[in-house]
Amino acid sequence: MTEPRKIGWSRPTPIVPSQSVAGRTLMLLIGIMTFLSCVTFGGVLLVQKSAVGWSADVGREVTIQIRPLDGEVLESNLRLAVSIAEGVPGVSSAHALTLEESERLLEPWLGAGLDLSDLAIPRLVVVRLADPNAADIARLEREISAISGASLETHAAWRVQLNTMAGTIVVSGILVLALILVATALAIVFATRGTMSTNREIVDVLHFIGASNRFIAGEFQGRFLMIGLRGGIVGGVAAILFFIFISAAMSTVMPEQSSAQLGVLFGQFSLGVAGLLGIVGVVLVIAGLTAITSRLTVRRFLSQIS
């Protein structure tokens, strides 16, 4: 008689031996693909967020420009423009830039210590809108046109351009993501077929002892789901670290001022909750893609040989 086997024996040896699955290579590949997907996704998100924020900021402001004309008193025209603007529904405030403010605006381009009073420089009235959608821009434009030399700048053309550019980047990003996913799926197909061929003897043995294709497929694709999940998590974590590193680098390496400007430009490089959720989503999509692709490949292989 023999000793009874230990009860509570740990999990049985996998039927598909782990060293026969090209696991490490595939995991690395999936990790890299996940990383690329996450960085692409994060980049697209940042561009999108910044563009929306920027566009909204600019949209909350219109500018009335008054050119100095002979025979017109610029200061009184400025005051008139302010009072017209304040009378338009949806406007929260209107403010004529003083000569000094205009000088300061132009300083970076024309140098310090310039005296605008010598030059025929247009003067500006900055009109802040309470609600860009409700503001009656058309009426403002109509009433302003009564002032000679005055024109309204709504930045509309500029915003269209910004939105087009941001849209192009988003579409390209999505295209890149799709291509990465397709490439990943193809790599998984090859890896799965390779593994199945390597383990052909096991498949045959399982067949003649009465295993169903479903059972055999399960033994194989369980492996691939684990590989996909692990690779995905590695890539996702690497991407999060990448974004943390970039935003840290931005705030330390860059001089404060330009970093602040970049911050305005790129929303502080912080992905926020949406970004993190997105990265988790990318990881899940890639793990799921791995599972589904290997499942289909295994099923195809099995139905081809039987």
């Binding site: 040896t13 067949h207 009465g210 059972f215």
Partner: protein, 219 residues
């Protein structure tokens, strides 16, 4: 139990390997399947294992036409048939216990439910002390006993064996044959392919002789 009717088999567009086989095999019988190498013994066993379809004719097993079974039914049928090969075909990374337990495992049963059954069978074939050994450290005879245990663990009605003693010493061959004999006494229908003359001389079972694609019976 098994009935062949005008069964022919060819691989692809090649010549007919098996020609017009018509025979019946009674339940509980034991037959040697003999014939020269390349005469089609393995092919005939593959037909019986339902892993090959005949090119013509009909095969029925357990009273059911199996020539055109759908996959699920075929799977159920195959679970009533055990098979032993000359090359053992154990899975190298699994222990003796795990190899023998495999048919239980692929049916989704838990280890607790079959542990005792597997142990008992391993004791019976004389491998009780080799349960945790990997195939690599077993002798040819031990591997074949493990393979036989795997083939009969789920109590098949039919046991097919394709030259099971081909890779085993002659004395051990005889002992393996006694195992098959005992299984047959317990009610298993057995078809055992071999061309070893000493076995054919020693054991007095009816013979099916394959030659030139034709099958003849000799009692």
């Amino acid at each position: 139990m098994i009935a062949f009717e005008n069964v022919g088999l060819r691989y692809g567009h090649g010549p007919e390997i098996l020609k017009d086989l018509t025979f019946r095999i009674a339940p509980g019988s034991f037959h040697f399947l003999t014939g020269p190498s390349g005469s089609g013994k393995t092919s005939l066993l593959r037909l019986l294992l339902l892993s090959l379809k005949p090119s013509r004719g009909t095969i029925s097993m357990f009273g059911e036409d199996v020539t055109n079974l759908e996959r699920d039914r075929l799977l159920q049928m195959r679970r009533h048939i055990g098979i032993v090969f000359q090359e053992f075909r154990l899975l190298d990374h699994l222990t003796t216990f795990e190899n023998v337990a495999l048919p239980h495992r692929v049916r989704g049963q838990s280890e607790a439910s079959y542990r005792a059954n597997v142990q008992e069978l391993l004791d019976w074939v004389g491998l009780g002390d080799k349960m945790d050994a990997l195939p690599a450290v077993l002798s040819g005879g031990e591997k074949q006993r493990a393979a036989i245990a795997r083939a009969v663990i789920s109590k098949p009605d039919i046991l097919l064996a394709d030259e099971p003693t081909g890779n085993v010493d002659p004395e051990l061959s005889e002992r393996l044959l006694h195992l098959f004999d005992e299984l047959n006494r317990m009610g298993t229908t057995i078809i055992l392919a071999t061309h070893e003359l000493n076995l054919l001389r020693k054991f007095d079972y009816p013979r099916m002789l394959l030659e030139h694609g034709e099958l003849t019976f000799h009692d």
